[in-house]
């Protein structure tokens, strides 16, 4: 092969690299190992974790222990799908393209909005992209409800440094002057509580700003959709839709909006069309928005996205169906209510967040939340998520359809013990 390539040696292939930058030594890391050794190494590492596989998980905060049915990854794990890349050649990619089209359709149904893209990185970056859609025409202020996940706000703050805004937080009624680009509300909010979204969005619209809702896709079988609530753009974390917890990623950034804004929408969008013989087929469309065409004029720099997670979400949503989605929502709602009631009977424990809530609620504990969480791990529970910005004694507890009454009762008993000790 060297000869055919007109080269005399492997070294010759690298001759154009100046000696001064050539690495004169081997890389300072171990040499390769066999699959057998590698798997053993990673198995040992994995076993050093205590995960939701052996701890009963009441942690939420944007990542939830919803059940992932086997069928989801039996299909999303088909290698023709996961070893392909962005469908630049649509004739060879009808599988991925059609599934993304179905995903977009289901996201529109879920959110009650008109158009969805084919995925963003995660919920937090989806918020960044949504806000970015709204900046301009003299509007560059971003009002963010205090109920928005602080991690999402941090991501917004990071991105804002580049684009030139600084998220401002508001509580109650937002003051929407004519320099406000967006009003962001999370619903259910980071404390789990249902917000008076319609009023907030009315205020946004009255001031000419864009209403952005951060939503929980799993709530939308029972809760009013972003579209119904008046959101112009809805973003959410799609992890719960068939994606594993995986210590925070790969997750799924969902974004949906109005058709009028489709050309501002970031990322890939799949459209239906026909081929030269008139057969229905799918392609990436409106590519003129994207970085590879618009370059520094593009709205977003996203290229590689989270397609596989969107595929899993499509399979999961089709698995759920409308009735499943509603039943799941009802289960979350009921189990959260049951758990909150039982926990607040423990002396010293009270609801910090008000009601109503969906699947998460926030407790004030008589002790440091971090300590309680550690003590609960000893008893086999991931007790929830601490929320230091609201107080050291604040704990957010999440309930999914997966938690049984027995598990909840066990959790309550363990919490009593921990708080009594």
């Amino acid at each position: 092969m060297l000869a055919a390539a007109g080269r005399s040696s492997i070294d010759d292939l690298f001759a154009q690299i100046p000696g001064s930058v050539r690495l004169a030594r081997p890389l300072a890391m171990p040499d390769g190992v066999s699959e057998m050794e590698l798997a053993a190494d990673l198995r040992d590492l994995a076993r050093r974790n205590r995960s939701a596989d052996d701890l009963v998980c009441f942690a939420g905060g944007g990542a939830y222990d919803h059940y992932v049915p086997s069928v989801v990854w039996a299909l999303a794990g088909r290698s023709e799908l996961y070893t392909s890349y962005t469908p630049y050649q649509p004739e060879l990619s009808q599988g991925v393209l059609q599934i993304l089209f179905e995903y977009q359709s289901m996201v529109c149904e879920l959110t009650g909005l008109e158009v969805s893209n084919a995925s963003l990185y995660d919920g937090a970056t989806a918020l960044v992209e949504a806000v970015h859609m709204t900046i301009g025409r003299g509007r560059s202020r971003v009002l963010v409800s205090r109920g928005v996940d602080p991690r999402a706000v941090q991501a917004l703050r990071t991105a804002g440094r580049g684009t030139g805004y600084e998220p401002e937080s508001f509580e109650g009624e937002p003051q929407v002057s004519d320099d406000v680009a967006a009003v962001v509300v999370q619903h259910p909010n980071v404390y789990g509580v249902l917000e008076p979204v319609r009023e907030r969005f009315d205020a946004a619209h009255a001031g000419g700003a864009t209403a952005i809702q951060i939503f929980d896709p799993l709530s939308l079988g029972v809760l009013a959709s972003p579209g119904e609530l008046g959101a112009d753009i809805a973003v959410g974390e799609g992890q719960g839709l068939g994606n594993h917890l995986s210590y925070g990623g790969p997750y799924l950034g969902i974004i949906a909006g109005r058709m009028a804004d489709v050309r501002k929408l970031p990322g890939r969008i799949v459209g239906e069309t026909v081929d030269v013989d008139g057969r229905t087929g799918y392609v990436l469309t409106l590519q003129a928005r994207e970085q590879h065409i618009r370059r520094d004029k593009a709205n977003s720099n996203i290229c590689t996205n989270q397609t596989l997670m969107a595929i899993a979400a499509a399979v999961y949503l089709a698995w759920l169906g409308p009735e499943g989605l509603a039943e799941l929502g009802g289960q979350c709602l009921s189990k959260a209510a049951y758990a909150a009631q039982a926990l607040t009977k423990i002396p010293g424990v009270s609801l910090l967040s008000g009601e109503p809530f969906f699947k998460e609620f926030t407790l004030r504990l008589p002790r440091s939340a971090v300590e309680v969480i550690d003590a609960m791990v000893e008893r086999g529970f991931l007790a929830g998520v601490a929320m230091p910005q609201a107080g050291d004694d604040v704990l957010v507890v999440a309930l999914t359809e997966r938690r049984s009454r027995d598990e909840i009762d066990g959790y309550v008993v363990a919490m009593e013990e921990v708080l009594a000790s």
């Binding site: 930058v21 991925v96 790969p250 081929d275 590689t304």
Partner: protein, 505 residues
Amino acid sequence: MNEGAPIRTQGPPASSGTIMERSSPGRRASAFAPLDVPAVTVPAGHERALAPELPQVAEIDLVRHYTMLSQQNYGVDTGPYPLGSCTMKYNPKVAETVAAFPGFQRAHPLQPDTTVQGTLEMLWRLERALCEITGMARATMQPPAGACGEMAGLLMMRAFHSDHDASRARGGHARRKVLIPDAAHGTNPASVRLAGFEVVSVPSDDRGLVDVEALGELVDDQVAGLMLTNPNTLGLFEERIEEITGLLHSVGGLVYYDGANLNAIMGKARPGDMGFDIVHINTHKTFATPHGGGGPGAGPVGVTERLVDYLPAPILARDDDGTLRWDRDREKSIGRLHGFHGNVGVLVRAYAYVFGHGADGLTEVSELAVLNANYLAARLAPAFPLAYPDAPPMHEFVSSVESLKRQTGVRAMDVAKRLIDLGYHPSTVYFPLVVDEAMMIEPTETESKQTLDAMAEAFLRAADEAHTSPELLHDAPVTTPVRRLDEARAARRLKLRWGAMHPPD
């Protein structure tokens, strides 16, 4: 041996509509344990009015539908995928096994650090290895893809300059310009703009390398930095790289290494040693984490010592007793780029690749990647000459269909579509934009000589046919579930979801 374009193609119409067409009222795949606590309903005013119209199907319907769709897709597992700049190498199966270990797969991102020492150790070791490979001091694992890594890098540039620049008085905004070669990938300029900088284009010389003299002209104290891949977007090594990075440093600028082409130089040369300050890595390229049909990837970003303070927060710290924890207390950090810790599930796979291959294996990867590209380039040269023949290609190369087009009217796109009928995924076409009728071909190291030969024959056959039976190319593909699709119509008559068609606007 024929690799085949293994997608389902004939027989009964492949398309049986969307999953909605399998829907039937009352059918359902999902089931839950019966509710074992008192039922609670949604508080008034919060109820959903109109139920979403999701499909109503049984598990068997799901399975048949999505299995069939998967068969209509071409992946690396079905055949060669020589997309230039994308490094579509084989994804070892062991990565799927280890990523599925419950300890990794079921870890909640907000668990106490003490309960996820396995994952943190994995991330730590991976960070160390990536820093060694690239010659950096520390790295962040947060960016979920290369583009986000670029953003991280540019925001660090920004923060660094506003901290260090003599002209801080001017608000740290003095350095407004970021230089990018004209051939750069679209994410580079897009990121530059989103990070609040202006793009200044750097021309190439006639060998396809950065025009260092022209660069010299562009460099001044308004320049925040330069972004570059090396090998560059044409697959050529920037031989004058030290001069280039030196030029930037001489005016206080920083140099960003876009790691898309790292596959060419592992164990051979390190961006850090070339003078780069910031490096992103696309694990989905270099470290074979599956591309997932478009994603997920991961885009770790490494930096030299002087930029460590600016890394996105949190970063890992090891306590004296060996315990790893997230250090959140990082005053100068640019902040958070992702909701949690990045695409950790992808990073487990990258770990498997990096430590499976090791120092010797990674070096061999680059050797073979460059060998394969040079071999294929030589085989194709008679019909598809290199766009820049004066510098030797590294792990990928750009050929031009320009002369074939002049002779036969056949365009790069036609060649690409004919390759489909001959059983192969085409290369990247029409990128980089600076080359007319470009075909950018990256075979990767995982293709064997047999495969390269078979692929070369398909390319050469297509070139032959361009002369003898050009209609075969113009009409291609004919073996796929659909033939050439009307992209203009898709954009004009937007139909982006089932049920709704939006009229042209």
